[in-house]
């Protein structure tokens, strides 16, 4: 797969390509291919980065550097500098957002200067539109499907969603616009001394701060990142401007706003005591990934309001997240090939993280397993996944890996035959090693059913000792019969027994509740009686 990262220490960009399973912390692992370019020093490091699609169908990488420079590079070697815009920030200003939606690139600085450019048109340099959205701004996003809807927020500044009213997309304008090649045009100002290139903003919605805390003190506001969720919802005229937005705060909160319902958040959860840094969407509409300043990267379920599961492995704070979602991959494939070539991409999403520990981590978004770990050598300030396929990666490659694993299993078995009970130990140490090295695995693991069991055991060995024991039991059984089927039967038996026990308990509790002092007497039955009596009292 291919990932672009921005190095903070040297102000450079790095094109990293590697195959799944790469882990540079393991000696003899497949080496990633890292190409460094565009080094401009620490004083001009990349603050924001995004992938863009150019007018000729090519892809480019756009970066916003400290010092107010926005650059556009070719994505392929020799990484030619296609365009550059200077003087975008004032002194002490920094970029807080760089977004590319439908051919329109927008950048926002912390002092609130919003600049939009149409990259699809021929005369790129000329078409520059700007607006001031007020300061301070700490977070900025454009609606993924509608480039004229923007959301922004900051320190002591509530979330706002605005519409840019004087722009029209090509469909709206019916190609009657002045610049014929551009899909996008700014309507001439209707009144007032407007500059022709000034964007007119119309505030659609503004959030309200959460209620005071239990001490009746105002809750401070400091929003660090914004994401539009549920973007593909059916839109009719009435619900055109209803949005679902998730935000993270520097005070450890994740909030979910539904603009049609309320100005206050529907969900407001403090997920940790440390400031949250970034937020990324996942394939599921109700799930987001967040990271904080203390090396925690985890999934958050907005419907249950609970922190789901951690992406472990990084030792330093994660500064940047990027997710590659399966739906997006599918779309791209449909665009590129007409189904002639077999689908080679992963069926699951990928998450790439980078930060102060100088490693690039790539995880399977579903199973949270580490897909790749690459030592970059500098702190990472921005990240974007270009390609989610393994470099030499085809389906067959992945299968061969599984064959390897099976091969290992076979080997272990052989040794067991030779030397008694040694195998259990061996198996265990293998698991520990996996844990030590951060156990890199393949993202397509859940997809293949043939190896599902094997994978499950591996998961078990990573997580809990109890499960490790289970695993041992399984291996022991394997040694007896040499057949995987026995496990299932055994498992079923256990279930049946459990069910019977539960039935017994249920019966005893019922009998106890009736007042018969006969059998039962288990703790559960007692509690059942207690609850019954309590309800009677009520």
């Amino acid at each position: 797969m291919r990932v672009f990262v921005a190095a903070e220490d040297s102000g450079s960009l790095k094109d990293i390509s590697f195959s799944f399973g790469t882990n540079t912390s393991v000696k003899g692992s497949r080496a990633p291919n890292i190409t460094t370019f565009a080094s401009e020093g620490r004083s001009a490091f990349v603050q924001r980065m995004t992938l863009v699609k150019l007018s000729d169908g090519k892809q480019g990488i756009c970066v916003a550097r400290k010092g107010g420079i926005v650059q556009l590079y070719d994505i392929d070697p020799p990484y030619a500098l296609l365009n550059e815009w200077k003087g975008q920030t004032l002194h002490g200003d920094s970029f807080v957002g760089l977004e590319h939606v439908n051919g329109i690139l927008s950048s926002v600085t912390s002092s609130g200067k919003l600049v939009m450019r149409d990259l699809q048109s021929a005369a790129t340099a000329a078409l520059e539109y700007y607006a001031f959205i007020g300061d301070p701004v700490n977070a900025y996003r454009v609606h993924p499907n509608r480039p004229n809807i923007i959301a922004y927020a900051g320190k002591e500044r509530e979330l706002e969603i605005s519409q840019i009213t004087n722009v029209q997309t090509a469909e709206d304008a019916g190609d009657s616009s002045s610049s014929s090649s551009s899909k996008w045009c700014v309507a001439p100002p209707q009144y007032g001394p407007y500059n022709a290139h000034e964007l007119a903003l119309h505030k659609l919605w503004r959030a309200k701060n959460v209620k005071n805390d239990e001490l009746e003190l105002r809750v401070p506001v400091w929003i660090s990142d914004i994401r539009f969720l549920d973007c593909d919802r059916a839109v009719d005229a009435q619900s055109l401007n209803d949005f679902r937005v998730a935000v993270t705060t520097r005070f450890g909160h994740i909030r979910l706003y539904e603009t049609s319902k309320s100005r206050r958040p529907l969900v407001n959860v403090e997920v940790g005591e440390h400031p949250l840094v970034a937020l990324a969407p996942t394939a599921k509409e109700n799930e987001v990934v967040f990271c904080d300043t203390h090396a925690v990267t985890a999934k958050f379920d907005v419907t249950t309001g609970r922190k789901n599961s951690h992406f472990s492995g990084s030792t330093g704070s994660t500064l940047c997240l990027d997710t590659l979602l399966p739906s997006k991959i599918k779309e791209e494939e449909e665009e590129e090939g007409d189904g002639a070539a077999p689908s080679t991409s992963a069926d699951v999403g990928l998450l790439a993280t980078g930060g102060l520990d100088r490693y690039l981590h790539v995880y399977n978004l579903e199973t949270r397993q580490l897909v790749g770990k690459v030592y970059v050598g500098t702190k990472l300030s921005a990240i974007s996944i270009v390609d989610g396929q393994s470099t030499d990666g085809t389906v067959s490659e992945r299968e061969s890996e599984y064959e390897d694993e099976d091969g290992k299993k076979m080997k272990v078995k052989d040794e067991e035959d030779a030397a008694g009970g040694k195998r259990f130990k061996k198996r265990k140490t293998g698991g520990e090693e996996g844990e030590d090295n951060g156990s890199v695995s393949d993202p397509g693991s859940t997809a293949s059913s043939a190896n599902a069991k094997h994978v499950r055991f591996e998961n078990g060995s990573e997580e809990e000792d109890d499960e490790e024991e289970d695993e041992e039991a399984v291996w022991r059984m394997l040694g007896e019969d040499g057949d995987l089927e026995t496990i299932e039967i055994k498992a079923d038996d256990d279930d049946v027994e459990d069910d019977e026990e539960e039935e017994e308990r249920g019966a005893s509790s019922e009998s106890a509740a009736r007042g018969s002092q006969s059998a039962g007497g288990s703790s559960r039955s007692r509690s059942g009686r207690r609850s019954r009596t309590a309800s009677r009292r009520r």
Partner: protein
């Protein structure tokens, strides 16, 4: 029983006389058994010494043999069994937070203070640190200001580093270093503190700026830690003083020692310890002034015996 230090080494060694413990088990009388064992051990020792003497003679006549033996006989230490780390001895890319400080050749100006409510040892150690770090000054910590505020005040007064001595129950237990103006912040736990007066035959330090020895800071994190210690001392030492400050990293423990070297004869150099001695262990590195965590020691890191982070 072999001592703890040489346990692993002894195990591998095959001597000419092996102790027949199994045979001794058949002797029922305890005293007789002990005597027998002592006898066997004595023989074992004698044969060992004989073998050594012979080897010495052989090697005196043929120095190649000694070289061969030394080359082949590598003790398996924990350091040698270190887990592979791709960041070891890799040239650092780009600039770090200390770049400006070293490029401008700023003279260090260090503020030393203690944690709140310090009573005992912290003041003694601060006396020592003032002595060790040239261009440092001590300010008594009041109740009013937090670390971040103190760092801000130091910035206004152009300090280059801030050192805070943590004290708990009248014992020093940690040191925090903040490089100014933009971090990083590092916290070390401090153990095994011995003041100069507890060191027999210690010398008195002079006011010369010392030479600095940084040993074994090999990983990327280690080099950051090394740079921090480097930034505390003047970049050009006064060799007249013949004083050396050593920060020796071994298995992630950093040993602080201070010596004066003495030229007694042409071939060998004498050392006189000046003190104090203490051991540091890195607990966390934060960006800026105690902001994002760059690295933090977690208890599960101690699980891996052969993995080192510095």
């Amino acid at each position: 029983m072999p001592s703890r230090k040489t346990k692993g080494y002894k195990k591998r060694k095959t001597s000419s006389v092996s102790i027949p413990k199994d045979a001794l088990k058949s002797v029922k009388n305890k005293i007789k058994r002990e005597n027998l064992l002592a006898k066997v051990r004595d023989e074992h020792n004698i044969s060992k010494h004989k073998a050594r003497k012979e080897r010495l003679k052989m090697e005196a006549s043929d120095p190649e043999l000694k070289a061969e033996r030394l080359a082949s006989n590598i003790p398996s230490t924990i350091e040698a069994m270190r887990v592979y780390d791709e960041t070891v001895n890799v040239a650092a890319e780009g600039e770090d937070e200390f770049e400006e400080y070293f490029r401008d050749k700023k003279p260090p100006k260090v503020l030393i203070t203690t944690s709140k409510n310090a009573r005992g040892e912290a003041y003694e150690l601060s006396d020592q640190l003032i002595d060790i770090i040239p261009g440092s000054e001590f300010v008594k910590r009041g109740h009013k200001f937090s670390m971040k505020e103190i760092a801000k005040f130091c910035n206004n007064r152009e300090f280059t580093d801030l050192v805070v001595i943590s004290e708990d129950k009248k014992e020093v237990n940690g040191l925090t270093f903040v490089h100014l103006p933009n971090g990083p912040t590092m916290f070390f736990s401090l153990t095994s503190l011995r003041m100069p007066k507890q060191i027999s035959g210690h010398g008195r330090a002079t006011e010369h700026s010392p030479e600095l020895i940084l040993n074994n800071f090999s990983t990327r994190l280690g080099s950051t830690v090394g740079r921090l210690f480097q930034s505390l001392f003047p970049q050009t030492p006064e060799f007249v003083g013949r004083q050396v400050v050593t920060l020796h990293n071994q298995r992630d423990f950093i040993f602080f020692r201070r010596h004066r070297y003495v030229f007694k004869e042409t071939e060998r150099v004498g050392l006189q310890e000046l003190g104090p001695q203490f051991t540091l262990k890195l607990r966390r590195v934060q960006r800026g002034i105690a902001e994002e965590m760059e690295w933090e020691h977690r208890p599960d890191m101690d699980k891996e015996k052969h993995k080192f982070y510095l």
